[in-house]
């Protein structure tokens, strides 16, 4: 699956997207964030305050408890500041 990063999360990770293949026990957004943090210290540091990380699955805004099973694109990003 593809992961997209935006704003300061993209800057801290120094990448806007990546392809990952999490194992089958990674079933939710929260699981995915934990799994990515375990692989990558920079990522772990950037998402230390989990409450600051928002997520979308296939271009739908979701809570961290949402399923990622079958998802093609997951986006992770800080609180939005539009308008």
């Amino acid at each position: 699956m593809k992961i997209l990063y935006f704003a300061w999360l993209r800057e801290r990770l120094n990448r806007g997207e990546e392809e990952v293949s999490p194992p089958p026990e990674v079933t939710t957004v929260a699981d995915l964030i934990d799994w990515l943090a375990n692989r990558d210290e920079a990522f772990a540091h950037a998402v230390e305050k989990r409450a600051l990380i928002r997520a979308a699955v296939d271009a739908k805004l979701v809570p961290h408890s949402a399923s990622i099973t079958g998802a093609r694109v997951i986006a992770l990003f800080p609180p939005m500041t539009g308008g």
């Binding site: 935006f6 704003a7 979308a56 271009a59 805004l61 990003f77 939005m80 500041t81 539009g82 308008g83």
Partner: protein, 148 residues
């Protein structure tokens, strides 16, 4: 019901006139125009908006649908720019049409309150002291919460 997310600039007055022409005779139109600001005590040279367009379209379409149903709007339009803008340029415009002024105003305020916290745009300001990401404001969450 129109949602546009674009890098191109837009003309606030021309958008208002087109919106009014499409809803001839409806009675009440409320418009909010957000402009890049620069204060003497906190000058900026550019404002860059990052965007996730697919999610922005989905979120704005959902918010406009909610506002339309809740306030009985006859029409609603949201235009939101992204990319790099300079002070004075319009960033966002929302327009609502109703037969009653209260509904038009409330619809426009609802759209702005939701858009601030629920549409995937991220502002980055560049000024004499460098570049910084604008932080989300607690006040924006409170403004949204009053509709719940």
């Amino acid at each position: 019901m129109t949602v546009r997310v674009q890098t191109a600039s837009f003309d606030p007055g021309a958008e208002l006139n087109a919106f009014l022409a499409a809803g001839a005779g409806a009675g009440a139109a409320a418009t909010f125009t957000g402009v890049v600001r620069s204060r003497p005590d906190d000058p900026i040279t550019t404002l860059t908006l990052e965007c996730y367009p697919e999610l922005a379209i989905n979120q704005l379409t959902s918010i406009v649908g909610q506002a339309t149903a809740r306030f009985g709007l006859l029409a609603a339009t949201v235009i939101h720019r992204y990319g790099t803008l300079v002070p004075g340029e319009p960033i966002v415009q929302v327009m609502t049409l109703s037969s009653h002024r209260e509904a038009a105003f409330q619809g426009a305020e609802f759209l702005m309150d939701y858009l601030k916290t629920d549409a995937p745009f991220w502002k980055q300001e560049t000024g004499p002291n460098g570049t910084r990401w604008v932080e989300a404001k607690a006040g924006d969450d409170h403004a949204k919460a009053r509709w719940e």
